[in-house]
Symmetry: C2
Subunit: 477 residues, 2 copies
């Protein structure tokens, strides 16, 4: 009954997905609202997920030769303005610091919305010769964008992220880096977050302000909407020229370097929630779950149960992030609580189990119960965590496959967009007017031109002229 009560507090996904989402982030204690509108407090359980994401990604960055640095959080107005497209894209949504103490600043400072300009300013100081290249830098920090409409993790005025900024002697090397980091993101999303993604390149309209090309990984949420989950930008030499960064090449000539940037943010936590969550709450991929397994003693007033459960917990602590709940809440309440919190595995242990030298492992992703001998726990638990990951991945992939449609005419596009939430594959002439028409008539935006192209027809779905690219269209967070 306790379980029912707790779960009833969550709105059902099918009833109201947006409300379900808000219920989950609050009731799983991921966030609390802050006094500043559009900002959030990330609570211990939410922050622990981000710490796990950071740990894995940071190791992947370091393995691929990147180093962490720390840039200031402020950008002088004049610095932000140096690259024309960039300032146009970001100036309308930055927070401005105008006073230090009681004094008005000579030049106002924006709180970084992203740090390209800061990195360029630094690169100009430290890069002189081809020997100084490449620089493969990254930073973990928070940035600020003064959004009108906000939602926890998905769009907030301050959010945490990492931003990689690299600079290279040649365009080719920078391009390899851009794609390389997109691949790191895709691998991370699929392997660790159990979240299938589509890799592709953004249309010009959806490109990052100042980029030559923006690459993206796009994921589909449970409700069929798209979530841009990571981007990697190739800048060509545009920023370097705007900032006057030059180096002496091997032939002793002055040359202009090429740059990239790439980032993922706490949005990924939103992606996890909306990809894997269900009506019982959060479902966490084991790799980033703060608690991977919770031990719940059954009938713990009976002799020996608490002791045996503690012994099992002590053993399992060594193979995964385990927790034991010895509180006086009922097992039913505990089941609901850890389901709500998305703990991948629950271990139940009662007097009869102890007699039989066994326990019951329950998977959060599908509720499957397995009786496991206590002697085999150290081997079985990692296997089952892996199985949960695979289960989540396959379920998400099935959801995406089911909700991916093809449209070969405008009528079809409008029909699908109106009635079937999901991705819509359709051919496009690469004309921005057609992209805008699709937004207006069908309410969809281009998600990406996937690396894996298909020839659905030879005509643009909108204007009928020769098609150049297959595009994924959809509604997005």
């Amino acid at each position: 009954m306790a379980k029912e009560k707790l779960v009833k507090e969550i709105t059902s996904m099918d009833e109201d997905f947006a409300k379900w989402y808000t219920d989950v982030v609050l009731k799983a204690e991921l966030i609390d609202y802050a006094s500043v509108k559009g900002c959030m407090i990330i609570r211990p359980y939410g922050w622990a997920i981000w710490e796990n994401i950071q740990k894995i990604l940071d190791a992947m960055f370091k393995e691929t030769g990147h180093e962490n640095v720390s840039m200031p959080m402020f950008i002088p107005e004049s610095l932000l303005q140096k690259e024309k497209d960039h300032v146009e894209g970001f100036a309308p949504e930055v927070a401005w610091v105008t006073h230090g103490g009681a004094e008005k600043l000579e030049e106002k400072l924006c709180v970084r919305p992203t740090s390209e300009t800061l990195f360029c300013d630094h690169y100009k100081n430290i890069i002189h010769s081809w020997r100084d290249l490449p620089k493969l830098y990254n930073q973990w920090c928070s940035v600020v964008r003064w959004e009108k409409t906000t939602r926890p993790f998905l769009r907030s005025r301050e959010f945490h992220w990492q931003e990689g900024h690299t600079i290279h002697a040649t365009a080719e090397e920078a391009q390899v880096e851009t794609i390389g980091m997109l691949n790191v993101y895709a691998e991370f999303a699929e392997k660790y977050l159990a979240m299938p993604v589509i890799k592709g390149v953004k249309t010009e309209k959806e490109r990052f302000a100042g980029a030559v090309d923006t690459y993206t990984i796009e994921a589909m949420m449970h409700d069929g909407k798209a979530l841009q989950s990571g981007t990697s930008h190739f800048f060509g030499d545009g920023f370097a020229k705007a900032f006057g960064i030059q180096f002496t090449d091997k032939d002793n000539k002055q040359a202009t370097p090429f740059q990239t940037s790439w980032g993922v943010s706490t949005r990924l936590i939103g992606a996890i929630i909306m990809t894997h969550g269900d009506d019982n709450g959060l479902v966490l991929p084991p790799a980033v779950a703060p608690v991977q397994l919770v031990v719940i003693p059954i009938a713990s007033h009976k002799e020996g149960v608490t002791e045996k459960a503690t012994e099992v917990y002590e053993r399992l602590k060594k193979v995964c992030r385990a927790k034991i709940d010895n509180s006086d809440n009922s097992p039913g309440w505990k089941f609901a609580e850890y389901e709500m919190k998305g703990v991948p595995l629950r271990l139940e242990l009662g007097p009869r189990d102890i007699e039989n030298n066994q326990c019951v492992l329950v998977r959060r992703d599908n509720g499957e119960k397995t009786v496991v001998s206590l002697d085999e726990l150290e081997a079985k638990v990692p296997e089952m965590l892996e199985a949960v990951r695979d289960g989540l991945y396959n379920k998400a992939l099935a959801n995406r496959s089911e909700k991916t449609y093809v449209a070969t005419s405008m009528e079809e596009m409008i029909d699908v967009a109106d009635n079937k939430p999901g991705f819509i594959k359709a051919m496009w002439c690469e004309d921005r007017a057609c992209e805008e028409a699709l937004k207006e008539k069908a309410g969809v935006s281009s998600r990406c031109m996937p690396f894996e192209q298909e020839q659905l027809s030879d005509k643009c779905i909108c204007c009928g002229k020769p098609a150049k690219k297959m595009v994924y269209w959809g509604k997005a967070y």
Copy 2:
């Protein structure tokens, strides 16, 4: 010669300590100046030191039951103003955000100078019953204080730190926490940074804005000046009352909780530099050194040297943070470079060494060379890293002992303060007027009332009235 050239670029410590410091932070590539005055770019080598500090401290915090969270970076003006002493202390030095995009904000926001007010606002939401207590929270972030005079790491407008904020049912429990975290800081400073510290309590004048008691660890720099290296504050129930935080206690009555906060910052990197550095540059304590040992092949053009050096490097990578320098720079240049960067151990390996199945290990702290059999490396290197830590600690302790004086009269105080940089122990009546007189006449401030009190005399050095406390006085960064 290369070595000489490189080293000559650093000002000698005795000639100009401040300039020596600036030379070291720039030439060891710890920082670069940013376009915003008083802010700094922390470069990979500097940031890697901070990451090592974070890793060790974070584990110590978690072991003592603390959890990480993330608060927003902005504080609405009205929130900052809730605790009277606190706002008085911080308002004059905060950066104010007044505009979001083109729009003027209804209420201006300060960029957090510290986050007591944000934590209180959150605690008010989440604490209802004694079951919700204690909350033992910490966050790693950067904060902003609009200082007039700035120096890299020591005092900058933005700096990185951790801030612990805890809330408890009783004053006693909060006091135990306050002292407990001071002890964590002291242990960290002494064991990992090889930096002896004096633990004590601040005078009322030097207390944190809003605190009942501020505890501190004070370190002595090479030049005899003091550096406040970490503080831990007991707030009593002042903040809780100002913010209306209440809970239902075990007797079902409304009660007010008690709070603490505690922090250390990137100042610690300044402390490391000025405690251990010498005329050849940085000297890093092994626990936080990004590179603990560098392998330098000698006469690497000779057959087999590079191969053997690489083999040694591959072995040592498993026992410490090792690096090999196979570049075409001369060994002399490399020696100077890694001395400048403070790498604790250098391993030299040449053809003759290889013949004898040995290498030479050189300690950065004292230049001592030890011939070590290649068979014993895995055992010897950790031992020698430990020896470097001990060497650094003992040297710093000797410096502090040598530069700690006793004054029993005002004349003595003024004489020592004028002529002998260091700590001065003297008795005090606890009257603020005397503390201010000492500042005016001798130019010293109270560093702390140490836990280890001594009875130097029974009279206040300033007014001659009965003394209540022995105080460490000095000039401080």
